[in-house]
């Protein structure tokens, strides 16, 4: 069923996945060593889907990734340095230490930073696409990523319906990773398949095996082409398993061994590696070399960010409005 994915494109996708995976592993180590403020949230098991979204987008498109989209973020153009700066609280990071970990983005570049309220960024992408249309920019598309849990929110339903009414070029990508924190899908929805939710709104759907990079790339490329061609919003549902806890504070003991042993529990990295070696005939030493190079690059970036230090609360610009003269004076009643 897969159409042929170009060898170089597959390699590119794999290397983003690899970078995301190593970055995650290093962040987990830093977290365990007490070197991270707040939580660490990994994308283990979701890299194939995530990178396929990011790699399907062009400059000028809009991307609202979620928690487990490290690979997609890199593919959309995020640098390792920006990712690390945000996770380690550097004032030089994209959120300038005002928000951390996976809450990062560069709205001016179409990269929408997530808030913690699930489903809330879908309509933000809708609005960006409506704006582009009003400005006469009709070639761009947008993608919003969510998990199975977010499909229960009102924001999801309102935004999906809105995108359908406005016929927006939206890719709404659901990583059905079987658990929303500890809640299994049986307690999250009662429909047979999540894609049924989109059909109710008149939205086209695509189901894909989220552990299969090639299938993910094929599906996302097709969906993106449809959206770009004016076919309206496309909902993509990928079946996969989160291969870690919700965050590194969570040992994920609730994940059923049966699911782990099933096809959905496969590690997309292992599967992609097999494809590289067998189908695309890459020598194993190439893959080893990529791992070494990427690890070195990440370690160097970590050292740099750690040397940058944290924000200075005394010189920090404590203004919540762009119109500075309309900010309430600080502690006005305490002088």
């Amino acid at each position: 069923m897969n159409h042929q994915i170009d060898r170089k494109r597959f390699e590119r996708a794999y290397r983003y996945m690899l970078t995301a995976r190593i970055l995650d592993e290093r962040l987990a180590q830093l977290y365990r060593g007490g070197n991270v403020y707040g939580g660490v949230f990994l994308g283990k098991g979701q890299e194939a889907l995530s990178v396929s979204v990011g790699i399907s987008l062009d400059k000028g498109d809009v991307f609202a990734p979620l928690i487990r989209d490290g690979a997609g973020r890199l593919a959309f153009g995020e640098t390792i340095l920006d990712a690390l700066r945000n996770c380690l609280g550097s004032p030089l990071g994209p959120m300038r230490a005002r928000d951390g970990n996976v809450h990062r983005g560069k709205p001016r570049e179409g990269y929408i930073p997530m808030i913690s309220h699930l489903g809330a960024n879908i309509s933000v992408v809708n609005g960006a696409l409506m704006a582009k249309r009003m400005k006469g920019e009709t070639k761009q598309i947008g993608a919003a990523c969510i998990g199975d849990g977010a499909t229960s929110t009102g924001a999801f339903h309102e935004a999906l319906n809105q995108a359908a009414i406005e016929k927006l070029p939206l890719l709404l990508v659901i990583a059905n990773n079987q658990y929303a924190y500890s809640t299994p899908t049986s307690a999250q929805f009662a429909c047979k398949e999540l894609s049924l939710k989109a059909q109710g709104y008149g939205v086209s759907t695509h189901d894909v095996d989220g552990t299969d990079l090639k299938a993910c790339m094929t599906t996302l490329e097709k969906a993106a082409a449809l959206a770009r061609a004016g076919e309206g919003p496309q909902l993509i549902v990928a079946e996969l398993l989160r291969l870690c806890g919700h965050g590194e504070h969570d040992d994920a003991q609730y994940i059923s061994p049966k699911i782990k042993a099933s096809k959905v529990g496969r590690d997309c990295m292992d599967e992609a590696k097999k494809t590289l070696l067998k189908e695309y005939q890459y020598p194993e030493k190439d893959l080893d070399q990529w791992t070494t190079e990427t690890t070195d690059e990440i370690n160097q970036a970590i050292r740099q960010v750690q040397q940058e230090g944290g924000p200075d609360p005394f010189t920090h610009n404590w203004k919540a409005l762009a119109t500075r003269e309309l900010c309430e004076p600080l502690g006005s009643s305490t002088l």
Partner: protein
């Protein structure tokens, strides 16, 4: 020629649509129908593609406005009633209000909230929610009380590079008329002395301004000179103008249609007590609506919110203190 408060809002939007291609209006029934109150009457026809009907999805309406603002647009979102904005609350306070702080990318959007009670409105078509929004950093909250302010403050709100909660009062839509639209205006953030006096300061805003002016006129017959301050903007509050007025009068009464717990009255009194305690000749007082949901029947509603009568009664008591 005379123009109503509601027509001023429509005219302000027409002006904005005419003069700035980044402005558009999105809300339920705002298109060909012209809005539940006709605040967008004929605008869809005059500005094709820029006055857009929304589904009944307040969350998505506000969320999309944030996305459009990021893209450089200046959306005006019409909530059919302020009461329904609670359905879009998350997008307002967590998305719009935090965007600039998080990213240094401005979020210029204006949320129009048809606010406040009218006879027969009942619990879900009468609410005043200005303090709920004022509570959150990153928002500006306007509460125009006059036709002139409805016009000039709406234009200024849309041109600001921040999210503005524009609380327009439904009671004033048809009741209030002016001879013409203003050529110049006080900026957002500045309060206005609506009536000068030296015996007491009443601080108020929105529809309550007119109850307070009526009360002040009645008390003038007894020789009491009441100064009335129209806040115009409740976030930020123009503390300087309030303190200067209290310095002249020595007495403070705050009047608001919203519920009593916390809110604008509490904030004003807190500031005056903290920054101008020595200026006070008597304990400051406040009048709000009763702490119940808003009643439907006109006889109940007429005593639920502050009125000129209840303001006069409290003000007289305060003058005796």
């Amino acid at each position: 020629m005379s123009i109503t408060y509601l027509e001023a809002i429509r005219e302000a939007q027409a002006y904005l649509l005419r003069n700035d291609p980044s402005v558009y209006i999105y809300g339920q029934d705002v298109g060909a129908f012209g809005g539940a109150f006709k605040a967008t009457k004929n605008l869809a026809k005059e500005f094709p593609g820029r006055v857009i009907d929304a589904p009944i999805s307040e969350d998505a309406m506000v969320g999309s406005a944030v996305g459009a603002a990021i893209e450089g647009m200046r959306p005006i979102i019409e909530m059919q009633f302020a009461d329904f904005s609670t359905v879009g609350f998350n997008q307002v306070v967590n998305q719009a209000a935090t965007l600039f702080w998080r990213t240094e990318v401005p979020c210029p959007l204006t949320l129009r909230l048809p606010s406040g009670g009218t006879s027969g409105g009942g619990p879900f078509h009468s609410q005043c929610l200005e303090s709920i929004y004022a509570r959150f950093p990153g928002l500006i909250v306007c509460t125009p009380a006059t036709v002139e302010d409805a016009y000039s403050m709406l234009i200024e709100s849309v041109m600001l590079n921040d999210p503005v909660i524009f609380c327009e009062h439904k009671y004033l839509y048809f009741h209030l008329k002016a001879d013409s639209l203003p050529q110049e205006a006080l900026p957002i953030g500045k309060a206005r002395i609506a009536r000068e006096g030296r015996d007491m300061t009443i601080v108020t805003y929105s529809a309550m301004l007119h109850e307070c002016l009526e009360a002040a006129a009645e008390m003038a017959q007894d020789g009491a000179e009441i100064e009335v301050v129209d806040l115009r903007t409740v976030k930020p509050i123009d503390t300087d103008t309030i303190i200067a007025s209290v310095a002249r009068t020595g007495r403070l009464l705050c009047v608001a249609e919203e519920w009593p717990w916390g809110g604008v009255n509490a904030e004003v009194i807190s500031r005056v007590v903290a920054e101008g305690f020595n200026l006070l000749d008597a304990p400051p007082q406040r009048i709000n609506a009763k702490d119940t949901p808003i009643p439907y029947h006109p006889d109940l509603w007429s005593v639920h919110r502050p009125t000129a009568q209840s303001i006069v009664a409290t003000a007289r008591q305060l003058l005796r203190n």
